[in-house]
Subunit: 312 residues, 2 copies
């Protein structure tokens, strides 16, 4: 039932939209954790181990309901999202406390982040306590995930290509926790050292914020952790760091702040859509088409067209 | 002067917007070529060699004005975009027929594609015949470039990581020309073979289109070309393929079709902005803030809020 509902929501059908509106009141409880990093860093294995940890926690802790949302580039051959991560997660698949969803990114110009947010909201309302959102690739999508997640992990691995350095710099800005995965490989210490020194440089470049005299609980310095996901090494420590970050977000008011900022952006985007639809329906037939022809022939600029149509 | 104007346009200042409106009438002449691919594929060197080729063409051809727009992740340490590509382009920097622009992607949530489109429009109106737009990273940004460019090159190199395979599948959909760069490295034949077979599989999976009985000039099968950018090998053949693609676009009507689709999206996005601004200005003070508080406390869903505020 949940899977069917998610498909409705993903495809933005009227039923999906109605369900989103109703489920909204029950959402806002889950901890959203984004897991991002360059191809080959072993994100999927790490997500898998984290899910396993939440399902089988150390004694004295309560197992949590875990959802995994894998945002993968689609394969036109399989007719949908690639199945790699699902295969890797197979040993968790029999557990009713784990829900795995693979999303296709094909052709979702600006729409993938929107669809992911909607899927996450449904999983949140369905009672999943931790939602791990994994993305492949670098750039725009990482920034969008950072704005969705409460906690963002940036995963690196030793011995990546030469362009990686440039990407790291951009990712530092969105990282709440840095992970050097594949720590059993040669060169992991160099990767860790270089990450730490980049992080220090970045911290020093900030205007003030983290250098302020705020009490310790109200500051957050992204830690650098080492893991070997394939062996399960370092996963407990990583889960503890994620928990500490949630604690920090709640104590400092950042949790509410991030939530409010995200909901404001959601509302504005929906208002824009609704206003455009209402305006276009009131417009005489053929007007938009004629204006577009004048633009295509370069007689009219889009700026002039907007002035003509909206008056500002 | 051009660099200053581009900064205005990039920052979306009133002056920048006014200039865009005026320059629009003179744009629409340049051939926009997107160059994309995974980190480490050697895109920058390839762009550099292409620019050099257009400036110093084979005898009988006219040199063209070339602009390069490098969309790089920003480095918080350099206080702007990374300088790597500019350094690599240094030997072209003294040529007044070459203009190089590096763009920062920092925090440009949804805005980078918009800013890139604006910068490209100014360079087009300024008389650059070929505009090469290079991006780092995979995913969303590639799709956005494909919708901006007339011709999209997807660059691969031998011996990339294990996640790359999944990315390739997504990129096949937007590739007009596939390039195996670093063809002097071991394994390049395997990369080329695997690209060709993926491409064949993709072509066969298409409903009809390219298998139709249209005349040859009205069909386009993405070619796979091998280059070694660092040695300049295969650049002439690549430039010829780019030219053939431009020819195909013009003959088949695809050029006008892509242009119209892009201008329509531009216009709609500007209309949405203008309608929202006009609506918000007419709204009583404090209304949006109160609605937002009701949403944050989960009393009201964004869907209900839109109904309340816009009536649909």
């Amino acid at each position: 039932m949940l899977a069917r509902l998610l498909t409705q929501v993903e495809n933005d059908t009227p039923e999906g939209r109605a369900a989103l509106g109703e489920l909204f009141h029950r959402s806002g409880q889950a901890h959203l954790v984004g897991v991002t990093g360059a191809p080959g860093s072993g994100k999927s294995s790490l997500v898998c181990q984290l899910a396993r940890h939440y399902r089988h926690p150390p004694e004295g802790e309560i197992p949590r309901q875990v959802a995994v949302v894998a945002v993968d580039p689609s394969s036109p051959f399989s007719g949908g999202a690639v199945l790699g991560d699902r295969v890797r997660m197979r040993d968790l698949a029999g557990d009713p406390g784990v829900f795995i969803r693979s999303m296709a990114s094909r052709g979702a110009l600006g729409g993938l982040a929107h669809a992911t947010a909607a899927v996450v909201q449904v999983l949140d309302a369905a009672g999943y306590n931790v939602i791990l959102v994994e993305t492949v690739g670098a750039g725009q999508s990482e920034v969008e995930i950072a704005s969705l997640a409460h906690t963002t992990l940036v995963v690196e691995a030793p011995g990546m290509g030469d362009d990686i350095q440039a990407i790291k710099a951009g990712l530092l800005e969105i990282a709440d926790i840095l992970v050097v995965n594949k720590a059993d490989r040669p060169g992991f210490q160099a990767t860790e050292r270089s990450l730490r020194s980049m992080l220090e440089g970045y911290q020093e470049s900030l205007p003030d914020g983290n250098q302020s005299s705020a009490p310790d609980l109200l500051k957050w310095l992204p830690p650098v952790l080492c893991t070997t996901a394939t062996l399960g090494t370092g996963i407990k420590e990583l889960a503890q760091a994620i928990e500490r970050h949630a604690e920090y977000l709640r104590q400092s008011g950042e949790w509410q702040h991030r939530e409010a900022r995200r909901l404001k952006a959601d509302l504005e985007s929906m208002l824009r859509d609704a206003l455009f639809v209402r305006w276009r329906e009131a417009l005489a037939a053929g007007v938009l088409q004629r204006v577009l022809e004048d633009i295509t022939s370069r007689r009219l600029s889009p700026q002039e067209a907007v002035k003509l149509l909206v008056g500002c």
